[in-house]
């Protein structure tokens, strides 16, 4: 079979056509290595070495000045049996993960769904909803501590205006501070929302038309068409959400500093690592904390991966089978 000109341009145009054999490029191995070397350098010196080093340090007492001293499992024993702040930080982190991940997903789906509705100016609405996620975390947090300020913040003024006599003190009240962070997270939902929006727009309209012909209600269409087809996106958001929430730091750190959170109601796991490393100068202990965080995150991710077969619907099969 001789290849026509059209085949040469698009060899797979006709079903059954066979791609012409590729010529083996003769590229020197050294050249390939040189091209890869920036990445290799980065992965070895900025990822692999620090990881191996911190793993070693997690079994040592290391204060930056003196040579690390091998202490075996002491750091881990201290973490689980002596360090109250570890448990406080872990509890706060689990709380924020458990509340914020489902809320963010629900809010993102809802927002994305709303944004599929406008027939005119949809791109403007989408941009407006996406914009907050582009605001730097520090600036966003500072703005939130201002608008939620119990004395002069507009939120409490509004709440008082509608008859709530004693609105919460938000970031200044240990009982409400984490809720302030949750609201801050929901405000910056844009990145998650955009993924759900792409997923929603990808649902074949024929399915909705068929459901409509069968007499399905709006809720039934959502429950039996939209939601199942969104499960891969929900799964993705859950996994990335868990990883992100266990590393939750910037917003909490900034808000804590803004309102003097001496009660540690916004003290999270990543804050504890930072505090141990750069305030207490206990690099060994901080490394141990970081490795425990990795294990916790891995375990949570594995649990989600294991359970996905039960609830994630892949129209074309799962990548994780």
């Amino acid at each position: 079979m001789s290849l026509t000109r059209a085949h040469a341009i698009s060899p797979f145009k006709k079903k059954g056509d066979i791609a012409p054999p590729r010529k083996k490029l003769k590229v020197p191995r050294l050249f390939i290595f040189l091209c890869l070397s920036p990445w290799l350098f980065g992965i070895i010196f900025f990822t692999a070495y620090p990881m191996v080093s911190s793993f070693y340090q997690s079994f040592t007492k290391f204060n930056l000045i003196e040579t690390p001293q091998w202490v075996g499992l002491d750091n881990f024993h201290r973490m689980f049996f002596e360090d109250d702040d570890f448990w406080k930080a872990l509890k706060n982190t689990i709380w924020i993960s458990a509340i914020s991940i489902p809320l963010r997903i629900c809010f993102a789906i809802f927002t994305a769904w709303v944004l599929t509705k406008p027939k005119r100016g949809s791109s403007i609405y989408r941009t407006i909803f996406f914009l907050p996620s582009m605001v730097p975390a520090v600036a966003g947090t500072m703005a939130f501590t201002y608008i939620f300020n119990p004395a002069y913040g507009p939120i409490n003024k509004m709440l008082e205006a509608i008859g709530i006599k004693e609105p919460p003190f938000w970031f200044m009240d240990p009982a409400w501070s984490k809720w302030g962070l949750i609201l801050l997270g929901l405000w910056g939902i844009g990145d998650t929302m955009i993924i759900f929006l792409a997923g929603l727009l990808d649902v074949p309209t024929s399915l909705y038309e068929a459901a409509e012909l069968e007499g399905a209600s709006g809720w039934q269409s959502f429950r039996y068409i939209t939601l199942p087809l969104m499960t891969p996106v929900i799964f993705f958001s859950t996994v990335t959400g868990v990883i992100g929430s266990f590393q939750y730091f910037t917003q909490a750190y900034v808000a804590s500093g803004q309102v003097n959170d001496y009660s540690h109601s916004m003290y999270f796991y990543a804050t504890h690592i930072y505090h141990s490393a750069f305030k207490a100068y206990e690099m060994g202990y901080a490394s141990a904390l970081a490795w425990v965080l990795l294990v916790i995150t891995l375990l949570c991710t594995l649990v989600i991966l294991k359970t996905q077969k039960r609830w994630v619907h892949y129209p074309n099969g799962s990548l994780f089978k």
Partner: protein, 453 residues
């Protein structure tokens, strides 16, 4: 003739030999290098370098390399890596435990008591002498100070019938009751005094509260939070104060009102709506370097022209009746310097460090530019002219009971932030039993000390 030739030969040999010795000495002198790392930049670095130049001039053959803009963390990392400077600077006493306790700075006892030593108590004020020791090792020499005292609004006090600032905690309560006013909705309009962690406090409110009651931070190598009853007394007073002044006897009410009041405080650095300037608060703890903020400008050079945004005075902290001898004192902190472990030229480093610590010209320039009184006792270390209203700052500096707390190696002064957290928890009503909480805190501090030593 032969004799003459012999003399000539000897003379030539002697000349050559002396030249060689001189050259060798010169070569040796050229290697006498001392490296000084400081966090200073701009005008401060220029003042610092001028002092270094004076030391070089006074010590021929000594080459001092001054490097600015290097913070504590960088110094520590370099000392650890074995390529640190001979001399480095720590801003604040709290970090002394870290520099001394880890051995990053050398023990100076032998140098201080040596031939070219220094009489510490005759040279520096009492607070500075005490503050250059950590873990019972003296490893630092003091530089300039920051002084924390009691600021009061003269007009407001006068209007309330008080001619002088309160001297005791009892008077402070009475003054505050009279000076505090409430809005129609029950919220606080203006406050007398706030013994409150987190109200413009730089995380030091608990330290100031302890100073008012003469509470000790350590007894030997252990935390005294539990063993020194004055801590419990101080916290009990704080609670009672909040209840009586702000809650009409109800602590929970007072605490809630104060939380909201503190949330509405004016900007600390705004220079216009700071609560002390606006009259929202009549009396407060504060640092000497805040004084220019309360004047016409926030530039220290303008302090002598203080036409006052608020008519204020400065005094020592009010003290508890059982601690009356401490009246007039405050809290004082210092910038300090030490000789790094691994310094190859300790002898010369000591010469440089001693000269820097006792350089009155540097002290005068530094105080004049930054409002940071020297640690030196001599009056020559003060600017020739300074405004009369600033005198109390020097009086506090010199008071024998003025102090920073004794220092142990607790990382970046963790015991301070832990005590501050307890104070905040206590004032919010989240801690029920202060004695148990203080005992728990002492135990945690002791654990840190044991771990770090």
């Amino acid at each position: 003739m032969r004799k003459n030739r012999m003399f000539a030969s000897i003379a030539v040999i002697a000349l050559v030999a002396s030249s060689l010795v001189a050259a060798a000495t010169g070569a040796q002198a050229a290697t006498r290098t001392v490296t000084v790392w400081s966090p200073y930049s701009g005008g401060n670095l220029a003042m610092w370098d001028a002092a270094i130049k004076r030391i070089e001039t006074a010590n021929p053959g000594l080459d001092i390399k001054s490097v600015g803009s290097i913070d504590m963390a960088k110094s520590l990392a370099a000392i650890n890596a074995g390529n640190g400077p001979d001399i480095s600077i720590s801003n604040g006493n709290g970090n002394l435990g870290w520099f001394c306790g880890t051995g990053a700075w050398q023990n100076l006892n032998a140098l201080i008591s040596g031939k070219n030593g220094i009489n510490m108590s005759a040279t520096f004020n009492a607070a500075s002498v005490a503050s250059s020791i950590s873990n019972y090792k003296r490893c630092a020499l003091p530089l300039y100070s920051e002084v924390f005292g009691f600021y009061y609004n003269k007009d407001l006090l006068s209007k309330a019938g008080f001619a002088n600032p309160p001297k005791t905690t009892t008077e402070l309560l009475t003054y505050s009751q009279k000076l505090t006013t409430f809005n129609a909705d029950g919220s606080i309009k203006a406050a007398g005094f706030l013994p409150w962690a987190g109200y413009y406090g730089f995380d030091m409110d608990s330290m100031w509260l302890g100073q008012m009651f003469g509470a000790k931070w350590y007894g030997g190598n252990s935390s005294a939070f539990s063993t020194d009853r004055k801590w419990a007394e101080a916290f009990a007073w704080q609670k009672d104060f909040i209840a009586k002044v702000y809650g009409g006897g109800d602590f929970a009410k007072g605490s809630k009102l104060l939380t909201k009041f503190v949330a509405g405080r004016g900007g600390e650095w705004s220079g216009t709506d700071h609560d002390f300037i606006s009259g929202r608060v009549a009396m407060k703890w504060d640092a000497n370097w805040m004084s220019p903020m309360f004047c016409t400008g926030d530039d220290w050079a303008m302090a002598d022209k203080c036409t006052a945004k608020v008519n204020f005075g400065i005094a020592g902290f009010p003290v508890s009746p059982s601690n009356i001898s401490a009246y007039g004192s405050g809290v004082i902190g210092q910038g300090q310097m030490g000789i790094s472990k691994g310094s190859k030229n300790v002898k010369d480093a000591w010469i440089v460090m001693k000269a820097l610590a006792t350089d009155t010209k540097l002290a005068v320039a530094w105080d004049g530019a930054n409002g940071a009184p020297s640690s030196l006792l001599t009056k020559e270390a003060r600017p020739a002219n300074y405004p009369a209203w600033y005198q109390p700052i020097y009086d506090i500096t010199e008071h024998p009971r003025t102090a920073y707390h004794t220092v142990q190696n607790t990382g970046e002064h963790l015991e301070e932030s832990m005590l501050q957290n307890l104070m905040a928890s206590w004032q919010a009503g989240d801690t029920a039993n202060i004695k148990t909480a203080l005992a728990d805190l002492a135990q945690r501090v002791n654990q840190i000390i044991v771990r770090n030593n």
